[in-house]
Chain length 358, copies 2
Amino acid sequence: MEFDLIHRHFKTPFGPLARANADTVLLGIGDDCAALQISPGQNLFTSTDTLVEGVHFFSDDAPRTTGWKALACNLSDLAASGATPLGFTLNLSLPEVDETWLAGFSAGLLEVATRFNCPLVGGDTTSAGLNTLKTVSITVFGQAAASHRGFNRGHAKADEGIWVSGTPGLARLGLLLEYQKRGRLAECCRGAELQKVQALLAVLPEHLVRQAVSRLEMPVPRIELGLMLHGLASACLDLSDGLSGDLAHVLKASEVAAVLSQTSLESIWRHLWPEIDQHADVAGLLKTLIAQTLKGGDDFELCWTAHPRHRDAIQSLGAGLHCVGIIEQGSGLWLRTPGEERKRISGTSYNHFAESKN
Amino acid sequence: MEFDLIHRHFKTPFGPLARANADTVLLGIGDDCAALQISPGQNLFTSTDTLVEGVHFFSDDAPRTTGWKALACNLSDLAASGATPLGFTLNLSLPEVDETWLAGFSAGLLEVATRFNCPLVGGDTTSAGLNTLKTVSITVFGQAAASHRGFNRGHAKADEGIWVSGTPGLARLGLLLEYQKRGRLAECCRGAELQKVQALLAVLPEHLVRQAVSRLEMPVPRIELGLMLHGLASACLDLSDGLSGDLAHVLKASEVAAVLSQTSLESIWRHLWPEIDQHADVAGLLKTLIAQTLKGGDDFELCWTAHPRHRDAIQSLGAGLHCVGIIEQGSGLWLRTPGEERKRISGTSYNHFAESKN
């Protein structure tokens, strides 16, 4: 039965993509190992992530979005390393054979795999028995020129700009909306913060609600951007734990401080939500938006540091790339207010072992 | 907390092995991706496996043996492809932070990693909440000369010999002993088979009991053998589902039949258990041993086919390599008795979706 399942939902639908990449996928699903050809002068890049039902996705999420997200979040790690996708493996542990779920999951997975030309090359499927959680592990492989050793987190230096792509925090809004829909918003924020978040969600325009949910459910890995940042970015990572928590890794590894500009972060939100200025409490709404941006969100946008001389080159890469702060000597993460005041930001990002999901 | 855990049980103990392989591990644990250097003219080989508590290992198994087995069974896939290990990634999903289990698991994992020079290069850890099952996914990477595209399962041809290393079925005996110890033997075999297995286990000599349990708990991947089989083996795989089930994959992919020699299979058991001839029912015991050898067992020995002209070259590779049958035109798996009678063997190997563990 296992072989039938693998055939119907994985080997058959993913076959054409593997065959279209026959120059790199020498041996695919079905043998003990997959064999991949790395191009001459290229290094292998690999990353792996597990999604557990109830922790990383909701039990009632559409299987298509779970499939999409499972591969997209791994491809995002390749993006943050400036690598081109080569293929991926999939491990599925399921409580029982659920054909409807498998078909939807496979379809979402195939959409991302096709879009980023990333063939499925191997994996396994386990039935763990009733009352267990669906668990999805994906490992992606990519390549990049041997001269490019990735964007090391320890390579941020004082005076470099801190850049982000897109609108970090958007996926966090999507998550808050999903929790609110389920009447579980209090699991994400407490006390005064809960009231502020409720006030924010109450006035979010419909277009922002749609974008936030879409970003949460079907984030788009920034593969092309990662490739364009070769030679421009020093440190780089993808935003999966919120700006504060993710930047903290760079600051620790590079032994530097970061100062984020409140004005710059506000202008990103104002750009996406121009109507915000018509609200009486625009300052309060922006403050809540920035707090949530710092706190969490599986945005899978990139965040990188770059020498000031690269500013124009980066701006010319396309719209939606924002310089939101600067690296300084010292330690800690700081927010510079419009009045040039500095506030220390404490790390409040996602912690698997502290909260179930937020 | 997650980062502390990863540091204490993985980054710190596995650090020296990664640093000793700094020429291949360019970027290891801690960044978005690991970066690995594939040697010029080599292809990448990769394989992935998930072990789920209660399905692939017992809840009360020593964590050291679980760690050992998790990596060993993946390395065995590299062995079956004739590849040299480069590194591996690890995904852990745990019900809660269990320091004692993590320490033991990490120690077993490190033993195998060190023995086969296979550094840990990345991974993630998830707390899935109380009452969930421990789930371990490992993906291994290896390399082999670009001229070697693995031993394709579809490459077995008529008149080739069928070879096995070691004593396939030994791990199955180990499993039966473990189930017997837990009073759950009836979950592995039923009716008349259960009685025969009980009769067999009752007379197993102590040295065989020790070897069987050791093979089950700490199987040794045949990496060196896989490398030596380059140019000699046609089809090759590792025995993880029992001789019958695993050979069935080769027969299906190659569109051939296989005839196993009862005498050859008996002589492997007689070699390991010379005292068996002192038992009154030696024929019955051997029959039960062969039935179990065909039926299951995570032996992680290799099984391959080879042209008759390679017979001497294979024999000269070392002791413990046995020709146990021959590939023929046609279909199906057959057993040739000493009286030259042929019996069809039906596939009865492990099926994840049919039984919980056997």
